[in-house]
Structure formats: structure tokens, C-alpha cells
């Protein structure tokens, strides 16, 4: 079992075994959505894997060519629906680069807090879901309990639990509510102990260890070659985090460690995420300390909606501004931009080509899950079908993002 195999047949099968074509999914609880894997099986061994994706293809890129920039925010929510604030942030940053504007400092802090909450939400899901895929149900129930707290925070800030659409070009939609500060401090106090609980639940679970340690190893060179990013890449020992290496927003003002592990197996990928959650809490705490008062949306009438809604009813200029932005959107100078952030799943990039109109000429989403899913081809030591499930779970693809 220590010998590395690349999802290829073991040498010399028994003469009376026959290859079987096995369809896993698209409706299967352990495929995390509508992923269909066509597996060529030799008994219990997976010989070849062919992922069929596209069951959730909604044509986000084509649709966005027909939407104004503000209208695209709800579309980005639906990419990685576990952590929409990150997607909103990535898109907003790309458009802001094209417009050559920046969000006010307070807005940047708010965005980072929301993006880190999103990361916690995404990582919590996989922290619980991977053990569940492997038969350890309990962790998921506890993880969901804490995830509910994050959902409540999201609802408090944005009015929605999942599809937040909270960012706007030039800032965020609304300021943080007053009760947010108390609630999030409470959460930050409770949460690190809860992370310890998950570790205790799963870390010494023999079954979980047996099914993840040394399974689905991705070597560092392979990980880079396969374009892995995020925790999946760092679990293979490649030290790259866009938050640190190409800092955006206020990530250069906060201290955090980039978690890497060297094993590159399913356990390392799970472990990496658990430890990243601690760093996220650290970032949120620092943000809360440093966050200044001020505007939450830039004062640029051609781009941003009027902040004071009462003025819309009393001032003609504000009414026209509001109407103009809602009905026609704002024009973005012609040009191209590629802007990437460290989303919970990895490098989330938006490539936008603008022709100077209020709608993008072309918008390409570099979806991390789409790229990470390809690593199914490159894992070593995952010969059994059951290992396949562990590998798939540990890669943490969100099918809505894979299919765009």
C-alpha cells in the first residue's frame, strides 16, 4: 500500500475479474453536490476516473455580459454558495481596479471581517463533512452548530443567511449594525475552544485516521502542476497565500500565520483547514480592534449609491444619481484586469474585459473548485473506491463553483 499509484490498475489483476463501469452520482451524498464520476473499476480498485461536471452550469459568465456591474453581485453569490462574501469581495476588487478607486478604510475592514467569517463558514462545513463522508457523523453536527452562529452574524449584517450580496463597488452596502460588535466578540471568545473540540472528536478517531493518513497524497510538484491553490496546495507543503504574498484590502495590517503541512494527504488537507480557522479568528479579532470609524461606501457619485437614503427623497440630484445607477449602471473605463483573492477554496480570480460600457464585455471566473477537482487525476495512493470518497471530500469542491 505504500507504493505510489496514480489511480492506475495494480499490476496483473486476477484473470476472472472484469472491468466494471461505475456511475457515482450525480445524486450521491458523498459527491458534495451534483458531481458525476464515471469510474472504471477492477473489483474494488479504481482504474480510471472521469469526472462529468456541468449539471449546475448556469452560464454565469455569459449572463454577466448582459448585466450591469452591480447586478453581477448576486450572480457571484451563487458561485461558492458556502462563502458568498469572499466572492463578492473578489468581484468588487476587480471592478475597483478597473475604475482605479479604493473602498474607504472602514469598508475594507468590514469586507475582511466578512470574508474571514465566510472562510470559517466554508472550513467548518468541510471540517464536519469530511468525517461524515467517512462515517463519523458527530463532528458535522457540532460544526453545524457553530456554523449557525456565523449564519446569524451574516443575517444580522446583510439580512440574508446565504446569498449576502453585501459588497458594492466602492465599499459595502450597509454599515455594521450596533449589536454586531458584541455578538462577534462573543463568537470569537467561544470559537477557539470549539475548534479544539472538533480536533478531539476526530483527531483520535482511528477510523478517520486510517482512512485519511497517507491516502490521496499529492506531491508538491504535482500540486503546482495541477494548479491547486488554497488549503489544498498548502497541505502539500507549498507556502503560498495570496493574503500574504499579494496583500489586498488591509491584510498587510494584520498578523496571521500561513498554515502549511508537508504530508499532502487527505488528513493534511483536513488539518490545514482546521488550523486556518484559528488564524481567521485571529484576523477578525485584530480587525475589530483596528477598525476605524468612517464611511462604509466611497463618496463617488458616479459609481456608488447615495448613502443617505433620506436625501434621495428630498434632493433632486440624489434621486437622479440613485435612478441612474439603478437603471443604467455605471460606465467602467475600457481595459482588462485580472484580480485574484485567497478565497476559502483557493485562488478566486476575476478576469474582466471592459469596453467602456456599463456591462462587462467578458468576465471569466477562475474558480478554485473547478481547478482543484482536477486533482482527482493526480492523487497517489488512492486505489480503492472508498479512498476516492476521502480524496474528493478532502479536496472540498463546491459544485456550484465548479460549474459556474
Amino acid at each position: 500500500m505504500t507504493e505510489a499509484t496514480e489511480l492506475r490498475p495494480p499490476a496483473g489483476g486476477s484473470p476472472d475479474t472484469k472491468e466494471v463501469l461505475l456511475n457515482l452520482g450525480p445524486q450521491h451524498p458523498s459527491t458534495h453536490g451534483v458531481l458525476r464520476l464515471v469510474l472504471e473499476m477492477d473489483g474494488e480498485y479504481v482504474e480510471r476516473v472521469d469526472p462529468h461536471i456541468g449539471y449546475l452550469h448556469r452560464g454565469t459568465e455569459k449572463l454577466s455580459e448582459n448585466f450591469t456591474y452591480t447586478q453581477i453581485f448576486p450572480l457571484t453569490d451563487r458561485l461558492d454558495y458556502v462563502c458568498p462574501p469572499s466572492n463578492n469581495l473578489a468581484f468588487a476588487l476587480a471592478v475597483e481596479k478597473l475604475l482605479e478607486i479604493e473602498a474607504p478604510v472602514r469598508a475594507q475592514y468590514i469586507r475582511v471581517i466578512m470574508a474571514e467569517l465566510a472562510r470559517l463558514s466554508g472550513h467548518l462545513l468541510i471540517t464536519g463533512a469530511l468525517p461524515m463522508d467517512l462515517g463519523a457523523m458527530t463532528a458535522l453536527l457540532y460544526a453545524m452548530r457553530e456554523r449557525e452562529m456565523i449564519m446569524d452574524l451574516m443575517e444580522m449584517v446583510t439580512g440574508a443567511r446565504m446569498h449576502t450580496s453585501y459588497c458594492r463597488v466602492g465599499g459595502v452596502r450597509e454599515d455594521l449594525p450596533e449589536e454586531f460588535a458584541g455578538k462577534i466578540r462573543e463568537f470569537c471568545d467561544i470559537f477557539p475552544n470549539r475548534i479544539r473540540d472538533y480536533e478531539r472528536l476526530v483527531e483520535k478517531n482511528r477510523m478517520f485516521i486510517k482512512r485519511t493518513r497517507g491516502i490521496g497524497v499529492i506531491e508538491p510538484e504535482d500540486a503546482i502542476d495541477l494548479g491547486l491553490s488554497g488549503p489544498n496546495l498548502r497541505a502539500s507543503g507549498v507556502d503560498w497565500d495570496i493574503r500574504r504574498d499579494e496583500p489586498y484590502e488591509i491584510y498587510d495590517q494584520v498578523e496571521f500565520d500561513v498554515i502549511t503541512r508537508n504530508e499532502g494527504d487527505c488528513y493534511a488537507r483536513w488539518r490545514c483547514r482546521v488550523e486556518e480557522m484559528r488564524e481567521s479568528v485571529r484576523i477578525i479579532e485584530q480587525c475589530l480592534k483596528q477598525m476605524p470609524e468612517g464611511r462604509f461606501l466611497a463618496d463617488i457619485p458616479t459609481v456608488a449609491f447615495p448613502v443617505d437614503k433620506d436625501r434621495v427623497h428630498s434632493s433632486m440630484e440624489a434621486l437622479i444619481q440613485h435612478f441612474d445607477l439603478s437603471a443604467y449602471g455605471f460606465k467602467v473605463p475600457a481595459g482588462e484586469v485580472y484580480s485574484a483573492i485567497e478565497a476559502p477554496k483557493g485562488e478566486l480570480g476575476f478576469y474582466i474585459v471592459s469596453d467602456g460600457s456599463p456591462k462587462p464585455f467578458r468576465m471569466k471566473v477562475r474558480a478554485p473548485s473547478f481547478v482543484n477537482l482536477q486533482a482527482l487525476y493526480g492523487t497517489k495512493n488512492a486505489r480503492y473506491l472508498a479512498d476516492m470518497i476521502a480524496v474528493l471530500g478532502s479536496l472540498d469542491p463546491v459544485m456550484a463553483e465548479v460549474d459556474k
Binding site: 494548479g227 504574498d245 477562475r366 481547478v371 459556474k404
Partner: protein, 183 residues
């Protein structure tokens, strides 16, 4: 300006001459336009000699009605030097370019996506099939001349009138149960 700030620009121009041209830096990314014939050599050189070991993304763009109509855009990143570059290749209709799946394995799905959405053929690709649309689908949906709601048929009463203007996907045309080959 060229090559002064960033060492790899001079090396690229020395190695590839006129076939690669530097068009400046925009929003932190150095942009090069390359002629499509040299793309595999260029990518291999960038990866092996200049350290651009991470392929972020490959995508197609349709510039209808401009000519050349299509463009393939590569976003590369150097994990050691923290540089990003963008390579752009303009392609005539019907678009053809060599596949870089032999240079980075991650290019496999990116190129399949560009084929599926824009009908850009990547010569030498190991497995050029549709990736998002189903087998037997006709046309390339992200092309600018493909209607937003698709074409009308028994499954799509809201689509536009007409037949797909692009040639059908011959590889997957005669799949049993598919809608291929009816035009």
C-alpha cells in the same frame, strides 16, 4: 522602458524576437502578446527558465466583429518571484492553437472549457471533449453570436429562432439519445 524594471522581459525578447511583444503593465500584471505558433515553446520557456510555474487560468474571448475574432488569454504566476503575467494570442476563425496541457496538467480542463464555450480547438489536447454542456450540444454558447437564451427547440420554448451558426461538435454528434445531427 522594456526590460528595464523586470529582467524576464529582455530574456523573452531575446529568445523569441518578434513573435512575442511586451505591451506594458496593467494593474500589476505584465502583458505579452504572442503569435499562436510558438505558444508551447513560449510556455515551456516561461515555466522552465523564468519560473512561471503556476498556470492560473486559460480563457477564450470572442471579439466579434473584430478580426482576428478570437483570443486565448493565459494567466501565469511565478510562485517564487510573485509575478503575474498575461499572454494573449489572437486567433482567426476557425480558431486553432496548440495545447499546453503537456506543459501544465491543469491546462487540461481550462482548454476543455474554452473549447466547449468558444469552439477553440487545442491541437494535441489529450481529451478535448465538452465539459459543461452535454454531449451532442450544438454550437458554442459563449460566442457573441450565440443568443443568450439559446435556440428554440422542444426543450427550450424561450430560445431564439434559427439554427446554431457554428459547426456541430463532430466528436459528440452521434451519441444515442443526444440531439446531435438534426440540422
Amino acid at each position: 522602458m522594456t526590460g528595464a524594471a523586470v529582467p524576464f522581459i529582455a530574456r523573452l525578447e531575446k529568445r523569441f524576437g518578434d513573435t512575442v511583444s511586451y505591451t506594458g503593465v496593467s494593474h500589476g500584471i505584465h502583458i505579452f502578446t504572442a503569435s499562436p505558433e510558438i505558444i508551447v515553446d513560449l510556455c515551456r520557456f516561461l515555466k522552465e527558465e523564468l519560473g512561471f510555474n503556476f498556470l492560473s487560468d486559460i480563457c477564450g474571448v470572442d471579439y466579434l466583429p473584430d478580426t482576428p475574432r478570437f483570443e486565448v488569454v493565459y494567466h501565469l504566476y511565478s510562485l517564487s518571484d510573485k509575478w503575474r503575467i498575461r499572454l494573449k494570442c489572437r486567433l482567426e476563425d476557425p480558431p486553432h492553437i496548440a495545447s499546453v496541457a503537456g506543459v501544465w496538467r491543469t491546462a487540461n480542463w481550462h482548454e476543455r472549457e474554452a473549447w466547449d464555450m468558444y469552439g477553440i480547438t487545442f491541437d494535441g489536447h489529450p481529451d478535448l471533449r465538452r465539459i459543461y454542456m452535454w454531449e451532442g450540444f450544438e454550437g458554442f454558447p459563449q460566442r457573441k453570436d450565440f443568443p443568450l437564451r439559446g435556440y428554440r427547440d422542444e426543450l427550450n420554448p424561450f430560445g431564439a429562432e434559427g439554427v446554431p451558426p457554428t459547426r456541430p461538435d463532430l466528436e459528440t454528434k452521434n451519441i444515442p439519445g443526444g440531439t446531435g445531427g438534426k440540422s
